[in-house]
């Protein structure tokens, strides 16, 4: 069952087309990876899904509803949350405050408490540092916070933009293990990654974006074996 369907999506920034008509699908409970070089349009696609950039053409359907008719701040209540590129945690607010903002649209206090416990179990470091200001965390901890904050909305689809960027290899491994654990709870994940090998090991399918178009679309296993993908994104 398709949870998210994107068709013919075009986005331009002041006359320059960042996305030139892409089609993409994420099924219920699936991990899908988007690969591509800088400027290929990966982050633009995620921002368009979250409603922060408006497409010039195309359609985004989530759970049978068009997201294009929905105001950006309402997208998250439908079940789509994002951990954006560069983490964008609220630096002068505490870890706990950041997490609570993730649950901004949830009214039920018990529900928020339960989710908070789940996130502290996924990322024990956040529990230790919940009183600390987000801006004083290390890069890895900020990444955990950004993912945890997105999960506080209890999404059915989690958009992750470059979760491994700038992290030490050991930390990358642990973040990817946690992403799998999140997925095993039934959360579908659309993962944008520079670290193509790790992303494809996690995902069931992948898309390769090149200058705003889908150049290649296949199962993760096939992409890992594909010679041109190996050369361009997996270092030969």
């Amino acid at each position: 069952m398709a949870l998210l369907t994107i068709s013919g999506l075009r986005v331009s920034y002041g006359g320059v087309e960042a996305l030139r008509g892409i089609d993409l699908r994420v099924d219920e409970g699936e991990i899908v990876s988007i690969l591509g070089a800088n400027g290929a349009g990966k982050s633009t696609a995620l921002m368009a899904i979250s409603g922060l950039t408006r497409p010039s053409a195309g359609e985004i359907i989530f759970d049978g509803k068009s997201l294009l008719k929905i105001r950006s701040h309402d997208v998250v209540s439908l079940g789509v949350a994002q951990s954006p590129e560069g983490r964008r945690v609220f630096g002068t607010m505490s870890v706990l405050e950041n997490l609570c903002l993730g649950a901004f649209r949830i009214q039920d206090r018990n529900h928020i408490e339960t989710t908070l416990e789940w996130i502290f179990d996924l990322f024990p470091r956040l529990r230790e540092r919940k009183k600390q200001l987000a801006g004083t965390l290390s890069g890895g901890e900020q990444q955990m916070l950004a993912i945890g904050r997105a999960l506080m909305a209890r999404p059915r689809l989690l958009l992750l933009d470059e979760p491994s960027l700038g992290l030490a290899p050991l930390l990358v491994k642990s973040i990817f293990t946690t992403i799998r654990a999140i997925n095993e709870q039934g959360v579908a994940i659309l993962l944008v990654e520079q670290n193509a090998r790790a992303a494809l090991k996690l995902a069931s399918r992948g898309y390769v974006l090149e200058v705003g178009k889908v150049a290649l679309e296949d199962t993760a296993a096939n992409l890992l074996a594909n010679p041109s993908v190996r050369e361009a994104y997996l270092g030969g």
Binding site: V75, V76, R88, F90, F104
Partner: protein, 301 residues
């Protein structure tokens, strides 16, 4: 020594009023990165509305004095809050995606509009708040005679600031305001309605500004339609002094400016008080360009 303490309390009273107005500038700057030049005129409107309610409607005579004053206080704040909300809708929201300069010009235009509207409605003459509103007894604090009015103004301004601080730090909407000030895009990803938060800021800031206008009317007794420019400039200075965009900074800046002025007037000469106040601003900006509590960011104004 007696004079020192009297001037200190005088400075704190005026400074508290500056601080209330400064909060309006700083909160709007925080969420929109815009100086709301019309804010000083909202303060003036507060003064005039207070006068109308107290004198023409005689609310303080119809109700018991304390209750009457409280009702006027609340009504003035609500009224000015609504004007502030409408101002954002009419003058700033349509320009949200325009260049920052357009919004600044719109703010200046709104200021001129309000100033002239007040003049058309009330006339260009100076108005005087009735004397009976000012309690004339004097409190004896540690052997220093302090007029009760100063203590009342200080208490009211400090109470409002604590209220605001609690709201910003302890409530969900307060957290949303802080989030929007830090990163609008990330705030929207959280499901925060940024437009609604901006509207809320344009209700709170003007409510405090209107309340300050009423206080200045009661405290000094004399109001005129151009005073928003003067007090607005002082409050804006206070906001910069403390670090624009920073809420505790605006409070600190207001009190500091009020006390500096009071001491300059007492120990140098009344004519020098503005000069000394601005000299203090220049000196602090040389040492700390982002203001006393301002964060070190490259992108300010």
């Amino acid at each position: 020594m007696e004079q020192f303490f009297q001037q200190l309390f005088n400075g704190l009273a005026v400074g508290g009023i500056y601080a209330l107005v400064a909060l309006g500038y700083t909160m709007v700057y925080g969420v929109l990165k815009l100086i709301n030049f019309a804010h000083g005129d909202l303060f003036t409107i507060g003064s005039y509305l207070g006068l109308t309610m107290l004198v023409s409607w005689n609310l303080s005579g119809l109700l018991p004095p304390f209750l009457g004053m409280l009702v006027v206080f609340v009504m003035v704040s609500l009224f000015v809050a609504l004007i502030g909300w409408a101002l954002e809708r009419a003058a700033y929201r349509p320009l949200r995606n325009a260049s920052r300069l357009s919004a600044v010009v719109s703010a200046l235009g709104a200021s001129i509009f309000f100033e002239n509207a007040i003049m058309l409605v009330y006339g260009a003459r100076v108005y005087v708040y009735p004397d009976f509103l000012r309690p004339d007894f004097v409190l004896n604090i540690f052997g220093v005679a302090i007029p009760a009015m100063r203590i009342i103004v200080i208490t009211v301004t400090v109470a409002l600031m604590f209220g605001l601080w609690g709201f910003i730090q302890r409530t969900k909407m307060g957290a949303a305001i802080r989030a929007v000030a830090l990163d609008q895009g990330a705030a929207r990803l959280m499901g925060i309605n940024v437009d609604r938060v901006i509207s809320l800021v344009f209700l709170i800031g003007p409510a405090l500004g209107g309340a300050a206008g009423l206080l200045i009317g009661v405290y000094y007794g004399q109001i005129d339609f151009t005073m928003g420019w003067n007090y607005g400039l002082k409050a804006f200075t206070a906001a910069i002094l403390g670090g624009i965009g920073n809420i505790p900074g605006a409070m600190l800046g207001g009190f500091l400016l009020g006390v500096t002025e009071a001491f300059a007037a007492a120990y140098i000469a009344v004519a020098w008080k503005d000069a000394v106040a601005f000299l203090a601003l220049i000196l602090i900006l040389i040492i700390r360009p982002t203001g006393i509590l301002g964060e070190r960011t490259a992108d300010k104004l």
